[in-house]
Symmetry: C2
């Protein structure tokens, strides 16, 4: 961000006088590492985006995260060592207490054993690093600074390659024993389609972009006509990205329309189940497909939920995430920050 305003380094009441009132957040993704610096009001002071090292070791990934953070800090007129705290949002199995990350499949060359991401990165930034689930922190950011601001309890659904989720209940992120929020693995059809997680009938098996792509490739092999893969090649992509799906829908491609219609129906059933169980005030729709397909789809998902809502007059709104691609990195920074609300 060119117009980033450097913060003044306040020394008052801070335990360490050279720490600023600014926090760093890193969103670790399969293709990119997003880093932001925010102040106490949540304003973004600096940001940067780096590619994730393609086949890097966990150590390489941590170094790349540090590089992105340093650049974002520089844009804010700071060094990583001056930050009051740093947070990381990551995919895979996060152990927030241990500061480790395990079972990561799409980052670098992937790893399964717990790796001390928080410790390693903490050594580089010379300070405290907190780690959390990528979708949960993005939902927390939307709750505090985005579409969830008017509410105390929200369910976030991150519709992309998979379908992730996050809960804020009465102002506090709800993590259960650490694995809560898996809205994508709510069962919408026992014995149904095979999911990427290996189980059957999960919502993600119908609505996840990866599942829809598998199904589209199968249909094409069976000889079904579709623009999906032509559009993909035109965009020079190896995968059906969210913008490929959006384009195919614009062209009223029959296969894309059918698969997206089914995804919306299953999102409706799964989200309605969650509302009947939790009765939260709002659903926030994010993720690559969620944000790319836009407000029209928030409305369609709302309609698909309606037939299943137990107290119809109290059906919560489905709102589009407001912080866009930065929600993950901002949420990660909020992880490291003392609570404000």
């Amino acid at each position: 961000m060119d117009e980033a305003t450097p913060v003044e380094v306040e020394a008052t009441k801070e335990p360490s006088p050279d720490k600023s009132r600014a926090w760093g957040g890193i969103d670790l993704g399969g293709t990119k590492i997003e880093a932001v610096i925010i102040d106490a009001s949540g304003t973004v002071l600096g940001q940067t985006r780096h590619p994730t090292p393609g086949d890097g070791s966990p150590g390489d990934v941590v170094k790349a995260m540090y590089g992105a953070l340093r650049e974002a800090a520089r844009a804010a007129g700071l060094t990583p060592q001056q930050l009051a705290g740093v947070g990381v949002g990551a995919p895979g199995s996060v152990d927030a207490n241990g500061g480790t990350l395990a079972h990561v499949s799409n980052v670098g060359k992937g790893w399964s054993d717990p790796y001390p991401v928080a410790g390693d990165l903490g050594d580089l930034v010379e300070g405290r690093v907190v780690i959390g689930n990528d979708v949960q922190v993005a939902v927390a950011a939307e709750y505090r600074l985005g579409a969830g601001r008017p509410y105390r309890s929200v369910l976030g659904v991150w519709w992309g390659t998979g379908v992730g989720g996050g809960l804020v209940l009465d102002g506090t992120p709800w993590r259960g024993r650490g694995a809560a929020g898996e809205i994508g693995h709510v069962v919408v059809k026992p014995g149904g389609a095979r999911c990427g997680c290996g189980r059957r009938g999960c919502m993600e098996a119908y609505a996840g972009r990866a599942s829809m792509e598998r199904r589209a490739r199968k249909a094409e092999r069976r000889g079904e006509k579709t623009l999906l893969f032509e559009l993909m090649r035109k965009k020079g992509r190896p995968r059906l990205t969210s913008s490929v799906w959006a384009k195919a829908l614009e062209h009223e491609d029959a296969l894309a329309t059918r698969l997206i219609d089914r995804a919306v129906m299953m999102l409706g059933a799964g989200l309605a189940s969650a509302i009947n169980l939790l009765d939260v005030e709002a659903v926030i729709l994010g993720g690559g497909l969620g944000t790319r397909l836009g407000p029209g789809f928030a409305d369609r998902i709302h309609e698909a939920m309606a037939p299943h809502i137990f107290v119809p007059e109290r059906q919560p709104p489905v709102l589009l995430a407001e912080l866009g691609e930065l929600s993950g990195a901002i949420g990660a920074a909020l992880l490291a920050e003392p609570p404000m609300k």
Copy 2:
């Protein structure tokens, strides 16, 4: 309870010197009204059970509730006016703040407009009456005094005529905006079987005793052989009660076995969805069918959940409710009491 021990009326530090350290709880059901008196440790000091007035007005129902409470209080050596507080667990739409009860179909002659149950009963007991959802208070009782004691977060599933639910999250009952816990209306099959609530594919449409009875009657009319209705007549019942189902299963009745198997499968899917979303520590199984079919069925439901649990090594136990038929009345009394845990 004949061996009920009268409590001493302590006047120390109490705002009203003639109030005891005992609380009353009333569980309002379609066929019976259960009342208990408990002390601050949750010990039952007196209890009684009255039939619900068959075609009574809301006012008649309140009078019957007061009668049951008075009798339970007498068994504890008290009068209703000496109780420190009274709670009611009720079916239908409970407005806890307004103290009203609406949309009650099976109690007395039923009513739809909000009726001031708490106010009317409060006039009779000359004190504060709190009202809550019957299943939610039963789950809270199991959390505090029953199977949920070792945990901070539990999901209760009350398997009976319908399938009700209640949540305790980190020590606090979670009610959402008032309607949370409807685990019976989690969608297990979009477009599936018609539910008593009018919607399609709810878990209750497969697992609720009323839904199973409708399906059994249809099968019998189609000529399918079953012992279910013969057993029902032998027991002199107009409905397939939990004990009729249990007996038919003992006889390996094919129709009963098939319907219960399907119920267990759908309970497994719906409960696993709830666990994937909330990651609570335990599931507590109560309700007429839940308690009648016993521990074997808690295990069967646990097995039916297993294929859908996202973090299989952390699948929570399914525990049978411990307070039996009194959980509702005890939970109602706890509603009126200051929190202990």
